[in-house]
């Protein structure tokens, strides 16, 4: 495959050159239907319309389909909530394909929109038809992906309005999507009301991640259970978007990709440091939130050399820069936590500072109106609780890694090279 490397800012990892983005499909998946490969669920003609809402809910429920944008909310529950609110209010709902993949360490949605836009749009069509939608949107910031979606929509689903979303970490949050489509800034709003209660122009609104909708279309076409799209990156500069079955473990995936085990930050900027037990757990359970370590939007960051303290410092500085500047506890709290983690990397933090840090990570949780502050708190808590010895060592003296690789305020940690020029014929479909 070919891919061009973006010359954007980079994280603390020693990846000045970086490798092109790989796309790989698990052996055998393409014969039973993959999203990214050439299997029957991608190439089969679009399903006939006429799936009733109950039928669609039943399909999503039976397969345990969950939102793949990060929150992992049961899709059937979301779909039914929108339908019930529409019935209560008499307002026809709005449906939105959310293609705003704000987190730089994730590329799976952009890859999916580039390679299989028609499957994602078919998912949007299915929910739009079942709900009797008033209007339908595809909300995408990335120009490459948006062009692919727009081109497919012109022939398949001309009723879909493809809109250019403003790029940003918070602009893919569902209330930010609703606010933007209603004419406001792409910033989260206070809940309640949630989008299903009061969304675009006050209508009940279903905002759903691209992969979730594509998985729904795939299930309707007869696939037995959802696959999982992951974005796997290493601090040695490898980046891959992979499609795998849910029964695999993280160790299976890393072994298949030939990536040496290392420290794994699972779930990306909203994630936690994975334990060895987590890495031997079926991914579908991590996706179903049946385990404390969750898959989130499927980001797997493998750190072979990067000190976890520097990694957290780098992500906190990113979240400090990217927060919506709306909620005080977020725009005051994240810089405060980042200050202590920075001091740890410099070997100048004391035990009192760390106590303060972990106190903030607990007391600030849930006090912002979107997930940004909770992401920062979760990461700090994971560092303090799961890498306690590492943190303690940094109280005595900075580690060699931190000394050589200070977190840079302007750098974006672990960004996947993008735009990548991906051609379906270049996909590695292992058989």
């Amino acid at each position: 495959m070919r891919a061009e490397t973006a010359a954007g800012p980079r994280g603390p990892a020693p990846t000045p050159a970086g490798d092109p983005l790989q796309v790989r499909v698990w052996p055998g998946l393409s014969t039973c239907g993959s999203l990214l490969g050439s299997g029957p669920t991608t190439t089969a003609p679009a399903t006939d319309s006429g799936q009733s809402l109950d039928a669609l809910v039943a399909v999503a429920e039976a397969a345990g389909l969950r939102g793949r944008g990060g929150a992992g909310f049961p899709f059937a529950v979301k779909l039914r909530a929108v339908a019930e609110q529409a019935a209560r209010t008499g307002l026809a709902p709005v449906v939105v394909l959310n293609g705003e993949e704000g987190e730089p360490a994730s590329a799976k949605d952009r890859v999916l929109m580039t390679l299989a836009p028609e499957v994602a749009l078919d998912g949007l069509r299915l929910v739009g038809d079942a709900l009797g939608a008033h209007s339908r949107y595809a909300y995408v910031s990335d120009a490459t992906a948006r062009e692919r979606i727009a081109a497919a929509a012109r022939t398949l689903t001309p009723e879909v309005q493809v809109v250019a979303a403003p790029p940003g970490y918070v602009s893919g949050e569902e209330s930010a999507v609703v606010r933007w489509l209603s004419g406001g800034p792409a910033k989260p709003t206070h809940k309640p009301p949630r989008p299903y209660e009061e969304g675009v122009q006050g209508r009940p609104t279903l905002v759903s991640n691209v992969e979730t909708l594509a998985q729904l279309a795939r299930l309707v076409r007869g696939a037995p259970e959802p696959t999982l799209l992951l974005t796997v990156s290493t601090d040695h500069g490898r980046h891959a978007v992979v499609e795998v079955p849910g029964e695999l473990t993280l160790d299976d995936v890393l072994g298949w990709l030939g990536i040496e085990p290392g420290e794994v930050l699972l779930g990306g900027f909203f994630g936690r440091f994975a334990s060895a037990a987590t890495r031997r757990h079926p991914l579908r359970e991590l996706a179903a939130r049946a385990h404390p370590d969750v898959l989130g939007c499927g980001i797997v960051l493998v750190l072979h050399e990067t000190c976890p303290v520097t990694a957290v410092a780098q992500v906190l500085r990113y979240l400090e820069r990217e927060n919506a500047e709306q909620c005080g506890p977020c725009f005051k709290g994240i810089p405060s936590m980042a200050g202590v983690v920075d001091a740890l990397t410099a070997g100048t933090a004391g035990a009192d500072d760390v106590r303060k840090l972990t106190g903030w990570a607990t007391s600030l949780r849930g006090r912002g109106d979107c997930g940004t502050l909770d992401a920062a708190c979760g990461l700090v808590t994971s560092l303090a609780e799961q890498r306690t010895a590492t943190v303690t060592r940094h109280l005595e003296a900075p580690c060699a890694w931190c000394t050589d690789h200070p977190a840079r305020p302007e750098a974006t940690a672990f960004a996947v090279p993008w735009p990548a020029e991906i051609h379906p014929t270049d996909i590695q479909e292992d058989r």
Binding site: P188, Q326, C327, G328, P329, K332, D369
Partner: protein
């Protein structure tokens, strides 16, 4: 009665904590923390004063 603060609107004026200190406690940056969103017995009048006093109109109550 339940009380809730829209944190996207709150500007840390702190008047809520003056009107109903038992309900609104301020954090180190001056933003309110609500221990119990269900307003305790007897605190209703203070909460309603806080709603009226908030310059950012960030406090909402529901029955």
């Amino acid at each position: 009665m339940r009380v809730d603060v829209d944190m996207t609107k709150c500007q840390a004026y702190g008047l809520c904590a003056e009107e109903a200190p038992e309900v609104f406690e301020l954090d180190e940056w001056g933003y309110p923390v609500i221990a119990d969103h269900d307003v305790p017995e007897g605190q209703g009048p203070g909460v309603l004063r806080a709603v009226a006093a908030c310059p950012a109109q960030a406090i909402k109550t529901t029955d």
